[in-house]
Symmetry: D2
Subunit: 339 residues, 4 copies
């Protein structure tokens, strides 16, 4: 039985608690949030111990694994402390927002000899996984280009995430699509060029990028083209727009996750999505399957992944996107292998 503690009792922390509730081989036992009411609420719903200080939670002992569901900028301290306590880690993506934080977490994990998964949940999205599996099986041939669009309505930066001004479409959305692009292409990125604009969200008090485009070039000269925006109208039927096109030398795949085949016209017109939700009272969906995969692997002594190398690589690419936005120039990348 894998005993799990969760740090962060927001939307994601709650989702992880629900994902593992009743899942064979794992037991969430504690939850921690700087906000005592938030921690208490999740603790009460799932019968957990509540903490406001992650060190207190770790010191109580008995945790085999810790899920770090804090804001993007607040991963390092919790992750390092949890690793040093001997707990395996599931960290929300992105791994961290600076190369230094990535290194610090990586060193702590290595020194503690624990395992670490970075939460690129789209690897459990059936569409993205299917593209990857086709690519890995050679059915795409050489991956010639990818066009990936992942955007949100204004709801996400202005009402869902309190710390949106410290994030951006590049961090919040492109960390997903950069990971997917690298996972599917399976070749090193050698340069990044980005463009984008800001102003609309700033007017609404969230001073960050409205729109970000990134062109990635791989070692073999092929490309990926990523766009993420945070300025879709709130009248959109879904808060997420996700479309993914891959052209390979043998096959092309065109994924459109907009309505997912389910359209509802009631009080308003909505696309609630079919890739998540509850079946038989059990939460389903990519982040749930990811969390379950994490604890199952730990329970069975298998390695977890994607891990720190990939997490660091994705952070490096997003940092290059931001540098290109800042400088207006092409940013070369030293090429580690896309693990």
């Amino acid at each position: 039985m894998v005993n799990v503690g969760i740090v962060g009792a927001g939307i994601r922390g709650h989702m992880y608690a629900q994902s593992l509730a009743g899942f064979p081989g794992a037991k969430v036992v504690a939850v921690c949030d700087l906000d005592p009411q938030a921690a208490r609420k999740v603790a009460d719903e799932f019968g957990l111990a509540a903490f406001t200080d992650h060190r207190a939670m770790l010191e109580r002992g008995g945790l085999d694994a810790v899920i770090v569901a804090t804001p993007d900028f607040a991963h390092r301290e919790v992750a390092v402390d949890a690793a040093r306590s001997g707990a395996h880690l599931l960290l929300e993506k992105p791994l961290a927002m600076t190369a230094e934080d990535c290194r610090a977490i990586s060193e702590a994990v290595r020194e503690a000899g624990v395992q670490c998964m970075v939460g690129f949940e789209n690897r459990w999205n059936p569409a993205i996984r299917r593209i990857h599996d086709l690519s890995a099986a050679g059915e795409l041939g050489q991956v010639l280009t990818q066009n990936i669009l992942l955007s949100n309505t204004y709801y996400v930066p202005t009402r869902m995430i309190p710390w949106a001004a410290r994030s951006s479409p590049a961090w919040f959305l492109m960390s997903h699509t950069v990971d997917a692009a690298l996972w599917i292409a399976d070749k090193p990125v050698t340069s990044v060029f980005a463009s984008g604009s800001r102003g609309r969200l700033a007017e609404l008090g969230v001073d960050t990028w409205d729109v970000v485009h990134a062109l990635l070039t791989f070692g073999d000269g092929t490309t990926a083209n990523l766009t993420s925006t945070w300025v879709l109208p709130e009248s959109s039927p879904s808060i997420i727009d996700f479309q993914y096109k891959v052209v390979g030398s043998r096959s092309a795949v065109d994924v459109d996750l907009q309505d997912q085949g389910f359209r509802q016209a009631g009080g308003s017109y909505t696309w609630p999505g079919l890739l998540g939700g509850e079946i038989d009272g059990r939460l389903q969906g990519p982040p749930t399957w990811m969390a379950q995969s994490f604890v199952s692997a730990l329970a069975e002594g298998r390695p977890v992944g994607p891990g720190l190398d990939q997490g660091t690589l994705v952070t490096d690419v997003v940092l290059a996107v931001l540098e290109s936005l800042r400088t207006g120039g092409v940013v070369p990348l030293a090429a580690p292998s896309a693990a």
Copy 2:
């Protein structure tokens, strides 16, 4: 641990074995098929005992549950024998093709005091379940009408099912959509009118209906309109066309499961579907989740369902469809409650 035997080692028997392989709390131990090679193949793949006579399998003992995955017309004997042996049952839909067979199975189950699930797997289809849940929660209001189209390409009757001439779009496809329509409407059917045509499949040596339409009328005067054909061209990107529209007094839902958001252009152009397939090497999808629900319920001592009442009701409606096709007239139904 629920020990399971499977009767029928075709596509579906294999799928059930795979669905339960490694699933916590259940263990498939035996498989039976009249064709010894078919039984042996599945037995070898999953490490099971192989049988060609279901009685021999039952007599060996130790089976808590039996999955009956024989052709539609061949459920009765196996089901009755398995029930009498004390095993719980998961029966492929339709429960049976005659009212008499339904009664015989029901009596055997009742006398043996075992449980019986009828395999209406679309109750685990996220789209259909979502509609049902909206309906059950009152979000649709009164269900005013349903238009359900579930069809196959020629592949299914001419190459996939050897016994297609003994089945029809009414049995093979409408048993799904009749169940869904009744589950979602949750009110008794009072009459059935059907029309259809035949001739194309007969020319190809499969003497059954090409096209079947059925109009169901419920006790409150509202309707459902079902169409199933077996004559879609084989150039279609999927062997299944499934579209479901529900209009309620408060909301309408429009489900289109054609491409499921994933389109692949390779050697040919295909929609492989996202609602099934493997994730992390584990089979997923409606029939898998149904089989897992069956064994989980048994393991935890919960009732299984949908059960014999619903199975009998669906068979009654399909029989009424066929009678209407035969007579050209409206067929009234005595109205049990749609359990």
Copy 3:
């Protein structure tokens, strides 16, 4: 130059005036409406003479053609008078709502030796026309079945058409789809069965059918399945839902005119449609092209169509639908050829 008078200055009368404004070879010169303000408004916009009595308009003389855009129940008198005055006719569909009215109009037209087009505008809908052309060219093979759904939101019966209680989804919508089904199948209908429900619109003060389904059987035993409702939620992105599936022995066609490839998220989420609208300041779309076809044919001395035979046939089928709704039984049809 074909001089045209329009009777009826509502949405449709206005559309016809706009459709012919500046069209080579035709000139709308007069408009008539029982409501003097309505007539005046259209007359002023397009520089026409305004009338409140169609006889006065006809007596003024000089009209080569009359477009009858009155409510469905009010075609006969205007059509007969216009024909007797020697004008060619373009009549809104349905031709009339009784067999007697159809006969009266047909006799007047025949006696006057004028031409008559019945406004089945979907024959100028590129999708429907394409299906027809494929069928006529033999590319569909034998037409095995058609599933046609044409529905509206509550907006149409409760706010757009003042006389909705005297119409129904059968008259207003199925006159389109019955015509299309017969045009594409090109074989006689031998029987009709219909079901449906009412109650929701009646609660809103429009006492007519909410939902109508009709199963048509053709002389060769094949079928068509039509559904029309007037109870789609007003949150739907379009006031029209139109889907058309045809399965032939050689090809199948699947038409979905829901979003027409254009989705707009602004103040609300809408599908404004691409098959109509203005191009270069000129109105385009099926009814416009139909009206232009009508005057062009007259100008060039070609026959117009679809004509009275088809108009009468469609009315006969819709009357059979309503009779089946009333009696609950199958209604046989004497089979004229589907002209």
Copy 4:
């Protein structure tokens, strides 16, 4: 009556002849092609005089307008000679492939005092025009970003265009999308960055780019992201993939012209498209409407457009794309107004 000569008797020249056949106010009288058989074929079909030397055609006199439908690289000489002969011009896009050719054509047109339209036919595509009209009416608010994908299957570069190696997705496809992006944004482009790859088409003997991405930055800091490829699999249901997303500060529009609502499964699975084709035996579609608009404007003495300024601007942007592909750097543009 506008007398028209067409230079180039390939797919496009034929289409123009058909587009104007019987169109009021215009008459195609001559066609010219270096290949005498090609010229003869079109001439015979439409009753035209056939030429192999455009000068001979011009010298015969009597031409009010000349349509230049030669390969992209072969516009200059024909255009200059036709302008000097006093004929108005409709030039296939792109205007020319070098700045010098653009200048030479522009000077000849200006000196001759004739009019010139550059054939950006997507301005007559209902979807693109609708976006433009929304933008021009202020309904989009500030245009924040555009994502435009316009690609072809291998068919186009390997079998449809004999001179594909002298063109590229940048010239052949992006001249459309650059024009659309500028027309809709209506603000000057200040810089261009492009990336892409080659190799697949080269292997097939067509030594040009497989994939081109271009990021445009406008004077207000906003962006457009264009992708065009020529390497979609031939199993794709359409030879064209066209998707267009615009995000404005007030509305967003999402256009998907893939299946255009019409899917046909016959000998193969195809999306034949609804935006073109014949209605009532008359060719319809964007290039037809463009040609008709050209001759109508001439007949009525109105200015034609889009004209040389826009044609030159688009060529400048495409040249910048190619320069960026060559240098790997950002290419600044002197900003004329996007006319």
